[in-house]
Symmetry: C2
Subunit: 236 residues, 2 copies
DNA sequence: CAGTGGTCTAGACCACTAT
DNA sequence: TAGTGGTCTAGACCACTGG
């Protein structure tokens, strides 16, 4: 574990353990440097990480403060797909509808940047949160990267398997969101009426080296769809 | 302008001007250091900024690469509210429905962290994109921070005015998203039928010092609602 | 193993906030 | 004007990628 990650974790844990609230002041940089026996740059890097995660905000000339939102039960849109373990809090389960090796459609081939005669794993699941249907998910994995999947893996966390089991490093994702109405099939899986509103998200996941390995289409149950986004103006 | 921002801008401009595509390689760090007469840390900081903005990705042992998504016409959810000037590309206009000073409801007072007898500016607008109704927006500004608004300001970019005119520094925001159905009034303003799907977003905007100054409720026309999110796994 | 990006340090100096 | 965070540098050393 890198030093700046370690420090970030400890600060975050400290905030948790002491149940600090929005606006509470953390020790000054100098103190943190001494406490963690690290240089200014390293502590700053930790704090930048925490700022990016929405855990603190730094005010020049004033101090470092805790950032906390009050609402509960929202799913973070920036870290919902294998990026974080917030999910554990949510008691998430999956029912596998289908799992097979296929040839990609043109759409899938384009998004995964592969040829039409390459192979993909096709996975169709319904995901449940506290026993309620949260979303219908169809995923396409580039088989030359994600070389093997089975029912057991697919009913657990696929991303954990990709990281731990296959040793791949997940890098970044592009998500496209639309609002629309459920068709008959979607409604059936989600236990809703046809024509109900839906949030529809297509996401392309890339490895750290930029290769796309997963193209996913997710249809969310609007009744369960509460999402959360934290933004910074740091990039203008 | 800070050096690392300057460098980031120039690199971004270079990518634009040369129409570089996803996966194209940028010069190595050493070259960039020489070219911009900057230290390694500074160039790295520029690249981290660009990575956060989704413009490049860096691969240890390999190089720095351009990140580009292909789809057009999507609004970035991370930078839609005065955070960026992408909007200019979209030809965005506003019709002001209402503008007045009010006392806050309990809900508004809670979100703006003020008392019930403080004053807020209430602004109700319909925003149009290419002449089509994009969203209905109700905003509440803490009047002790945003001390003055008029019709002219409100029909342009309020955030620009807050930054330039009032000299305030916008820091970060928390957004809460829901999917639902339009009620009668919303449908009227958006030119849709009651019961159509909607994306409903509540956002609290803070100054850099953590003070909330704007609580906004936005209802999006589902037909125009195409959003985009870029995520990194850098924060685990 | 050569090339390339990532981490970490120590320290100088700058810019903003609060009093 | 003292306190505090932000920028920038030069350089040592580490870790990963790819031929």
């Amino acid at each position: 574990m890198l030093k700046y990650q370690q420090i970030a974790n400890e600060i975050e844990k400290y905030i948790e353990d002491h149940a600090l609230q929005q606006g509470d002041k953390l020790p000054v940089l100098e103190t943190l440097m001494a406490q963690f026996e690290a240089s200014k740059s390293t502590v700053t890097k930790s704090l930048d990480l925490l700022e990016k995660k929405g855990v603190v905000f730094q005010v020049r000339g004033s101090g470092i403060f805790v950032r906390r939102h009050k609402r509960k039960g929202y799913i973070s849109l920036l870290s919902n797909q294998g990026f974080k373990k917030d999910l554990e809090d949510f008691n998430l389960t999956s029912e596998v509808i289908e799992l097979e090796v296929r040839k990609p459609t043109k759409e899938v081939a384009r998004n995964l940047n592969i040829e039409l005669d390459d192979d993909v794993y096709y996975v169709k699941r319904v995901r449940y949160i506290h026993g309620q249907a949260l979303c219908l998910e169809e995923s396409f994995y580039n088989k030359s990267i994600v070389t093997y999947l089975n029912n057991e893996i697919v009913s657990e966390s696929i991303f954990n398997y990709i990281r731990e089991g296959l040793g791949l490093k997940i890098g970044f994702s592009d998500s496209y969101l639309h609002v629309g109405m459920l068709d008959e099939e979607e409604a059936k899986y989600l236990g809703l009426k046809k024509g109900s509103p839906k949030l529809y998200v297509e996401t392309i996941f890339h490895l750290t080296n930029g290769q796309p390995f997963d193209f996913s289409k997710i249809t969310y149950n609007y009744e369960q769809s509460q999402f959360f986004i934290q933004a910074n103006s740091h990039f203008l």
